[in-house]
């Protein structure tokens, strides 16, 4: 798989020359086309695959938020799960208390998380790499205790996140998993489209300038501090959306839904993806879903209680992760080609 992806990257560079005109309209068209393809596809496969496809899309959105932060503005967050949680709770409260449509709830999830990111970012985004990493990490592990401070969040029990029955117009054969998949896949497409636009915008170029050489960027009159806060806020918003999608899929939001391992999982996905490589986010999401499946299915034959059978999946997943990093698409030469 990785080989195949390297080939694709090569192609990018060749094509780069005549790919430099960017027309939002064309992008919009392609994005609609993609949606249509997914729609066809969703009628061809079984429910569980749809459910997992929805997870793939959800992770893809999460990875996109990491890419926005790390890939485009050079900041490192180890606690993105916390930002996802903010979105998730915001969405759940919207549905449960305001009784609004789930899609609106997801939009709320994005906005609230973005706002939260803006406030948090205003305080912490100026911290350099490891310091920001430490802060977000500390935030992530504080989440359960913080959630318990606010009864409205339902404590450890958490809140139900119920998108309700599938729209009647699709008929009653229409499975809720397909409904999940449509929502998540649509969200993922919108985010890819959105990130692609950002990246191509002046805004995105400033990000990269800032990432590659903050001092130079500053000299060119870029307000690095503000840019970083903005990047952090946008990334939080996207993270919030993926958080909303995640709890939609698991039908409830509770602090235990956002363990540290989730934040780190997304980070891994982002690396597998290759930080610049937007189309990769879906591949990244896919890897996060499929690898554990493979690992487990390899072992279902082995009996239940033996240490080996229990610990081997974890071993395989981690091993594959390391391989992915060692063969990450962002080799040095790759970076160079991007810079010139």
């Amino acid at each position: 798989m990785l080989k195949h992806r390297k080939k694709e990257d090569k192609k990018d560079h060749k094509k780069k020359s005549h790919s430099s005109i960017d027309s939002p309209r064309k992008r919009l068209f392609l994005f609609i086309l993609g949606g249509w393809l997914l729609l066809l596809l969703s009628n061809q496969v079984d429910e569980f695959s749809l459910y997992q496809g929805a997870f793939v899309a959800t992770y893809a959105v999460g990875i996109a938020s990491i890419i926005l932060l790390t890939g485009y503005s050079g900041q490192l967050s180890l606690g993105h799960g916390a930002l996802m949680a903010v979105g998730a709770y915001a969405g759940a409260l919207t549905i449960n208390n305001l009784k609004w449509h789930p899609v609106v709830a997801l939009i709320m999830a994005t906005l609230i998380a973005g706002l939260f990111g803006l406030l948090l970012g205003a305080a912490v985004a100026r911290f350099s790499g490891p310091y920001l990493a430490g802060t977000t990490l500390a935030l992530a592990i504080s989440l359960p205790s913080l959630a318990n401070q606010f009864p409205i969040l339902g404590g450890q029990q958490g809140l139900i996140f119920d998108v309700g029955a599938t729209p009647a117009r699709f008929g009653d054969e229409f499975s809720p998993y397909k409904w999940f998949f449509w929502i998540a896949a649509l969200a993922a497409l919108i985010i890819i489209w959105f990130v692609a636009n950002i990246a191509a915008s002046r805004f995105g170029r400033t990000f990269r300038a800032m990432r590659d050489n903050p001092i130079a960027a500053q000299l060119c009159g870029v307000n690095v501090a503000r840019q970083k806060v903005t990047a952090f806020a946008i990334s939080s918003g996207v993270a919030g959306l993926s958080g909303g999608l995640l709890v939609m899929l698991i039908t409830g939001v509770s602090p235990s839904a956002f363990p540290l391992s989730l934040s780190l999982l997304l980070l891994s996905g982002a690396v597998v993806t290759g930080l610049y490589n937007l189309k990769g986010v879906i591949l990244g999401g896919l890897v996060l879903v499929v690898i554990p499946e493979i690992a487990e299915s390899l072992l279902t034959r082995i009996g239940g209680s033996e240490n080996l059978a229990i610990s081997l999946p974890g071993f395989l997943v981690s091993a594959l992760l390391i391989l992915a990093v060692m063969f990450t698409p962002n080799g040095p030469e790759h970076i160079f080609k991007r810079k010139h």
Binding site: D12, K16, S19, S20, I21, D22, K26, R27, L30, F31, G34, L37, L38, L41, Q44, V45, D46, E47, F48, S49, L50, Y51, Q52, F55, V56, P144, S145, N148, G155, Q156, Q157, G158, I160, P176, I192, A196, A199, A200, G204, L246, L249, I250, T251, G252, S254, S256, A257, L262, Y276, K279, I282, L283, L286, E296, T300, G304, S305, I310, S311, P313
Partner: protein
């Protein structure tokens, strides 16, 4: 850097890849009443933590259930059907519990879920896997969260454990009724989650008031330092205050060790909740036998060490034969007991097994099933509550839980406001060789 052709590839790749995600798979036959059942087999499923910190505590459950089913299969199975148990690891994470349980229903096509573990995990999994919509039974949910008894919210779920609230109410009653304890000031140290919270609620509705606001600590946050701090602050309390510990066994151990360090083991009367009172673990974690000796705890089971108990004896034999190398403890006892209840439910549902039939069988006959539990099972057309009582015991230096004051008194109550009453319930004796014959 991201150009529109990249986006094109992005979108197309996304489509193709998602296609890949739908790994070669077939359109499922709509879930039916008899999914997972053939003339010769019944497929059951469980999603529970096998790895991670929770795996430490509950990892033995699926193995124990499987062992008992293997034993039954070796003895002819249920109505000629062999039971297979598909077990997935959810690491105690809602996200994984939801996918694993959905997988059990949609891919593994199990007939029913048995012994699902954890509150947040299974409540999410239950809805995500659409157990209600697909009419998939979730038998003998392994958690003290009373919510699962709600037929409205979880129409196909059956509780087995008494709720944390019941336990707390019964402890409150026990303190009130025990002359040695009643006058003493009491304090609660509990985990800051539904477990601790329900406990607090239970004591309240049990009419018990603590001398101070409960000390709640976050999961994984109870360091020895924190425990020592908490105990020191209580060391000045006059008399022999009661310390109620509502947490997992390792936290109980941390607190007991702190007491040892501060030479306060005789200063307090320790009451450990049933979840946190597993003596074997306490001793394994290095708590001194002299400290364990005298700790008050609650249980609805016989002591897992008590080989004179016919159920324990039988389960121990099965464990040594079908669960090789796994030491027998409360968790194994609990797993095998759930498995035994499952087998009786399957038998009660009769030859032509259906999901509805299975659930009706438990509703109608469940309360008569033979089980190791010393408290009655409360299944009925209107109730999905399992055991509803506890007996209070005291650990001895060997780590055996002996009835407090020598005589075993069983208290029963509910999760709400019903009074706590001493019960005269006597459990059914074990069917021959532990093979149900109902």
């Amino acid at each position: 850097m991201i150009r529109n052709t990249r986006t094109k590839r992005a979108v197309i790749a996304s489509a193709l890849i998602t296609a890949g995600a739908m790994v070669l798979s077939t359109i499922p036959a709509q879930a039916t009443e008899t999914t997972g059942v053939t003339a010769t087999s019944i497929k059951l499923g469980i999603s529970s933590p096998k790895t991670g910190s929770a795996g430490l505590v509950y990892g033995k459950v699926p193995g124990a259930m499987k062992a008992y089913f293997d034993y039954i299969n070796a003895n002819g199975g249920v109505n000629g059907r062999k039971i297979t148990l598909v077990s997935h690891d959810d690491k105690y994470l809602p996200r994984l519990a939801a996918t694993q349980t959905t997988k059990l229903v949609l891919n593994d096509k199990v007939f029913a879920i048995v012994g699902a573990l954890g509150t947040a995990t299974h409540s999410n999994a239950y809805n995500a896997a659409r157990l209600a919509r697909n009419n998939v039974p979730s038998l003998f949910v392994n958690t003290g969260f009373s919510g699962f008894a709600s037929k409205a919210k979880y129409p196909t779920a059956f509780m087995v454990l008494p709720s944390y609230a019941m336990e707390a109410k019964i402890m409150a009653k026990f303190i009130k009724d025990t002359p040695a304890l009643a006058p003493q000031a009491s304090f609660l140290i509990a985990q800051d989650d539904e477990f601790g919270i329900d406990g607090v609620g239970g004591f309240k509705s049990g009419g018990h008031t603590f001398a101070a606001t409960p000390t709640l600590y976050p999961q994984g946050g109870l360091t020895s330092a924190l425990a020592e701090g908490a105990l020191t602050s209580l060391s000045a309390v006059p008399g022999k205050p009661i310390l109620v510990l509502f947490g997992t066994t390792d936290t109980t151990a941390t607190i007991l060790k702190a007491a040892e360090k501060l030479a306060l083991t005789n200063k307090f009367t320790f009451m450990a909740g049933s979840v946190g009172g597993d003596a074997n673990t306490l001793l394994a974690l290095g708590v001194k036998a002299t400290t364990v000796d005298g700790v008050i705890s609650a249980s609805f089971f016989p002591d897992a060490k008590d080989a004179t108990d016919e159920y324990v004896k039988q389960f121990m034999e099965i464990n040594t034969k079908y669960n090789k190398g796994v030491s027998f403890d409360n968790t194994v006892l609990q797993g095998m007991n759930s498995a035994m209840l499952t087998v009786q439910a399957l038998r009660a549902a009769g030859k032509n097994l259906t999901r509805t039939g299975l659930m009706r069988a438990i509703d109608t006959k469940g309360s008569t099933f033979a089980s190791a539990g010393l408290a009655p099972l409360n299944y009925s057309a209107t109730s999905r509550v399992g055991y509803n009582g506890y007996w209070i015991g005291q650990l001895n230096a060997k780590g055996e839980l002996k009835p407090f004051g020598g005589k075993l008194t069983l208290y029963t109550t509910d999760s709400a406001s019903a009074p706590v009453t001493a019960s005269t319930f006597v459990r059914k004796s074990i069917p021959k060789n532990g093979i149900p014959n109902n």
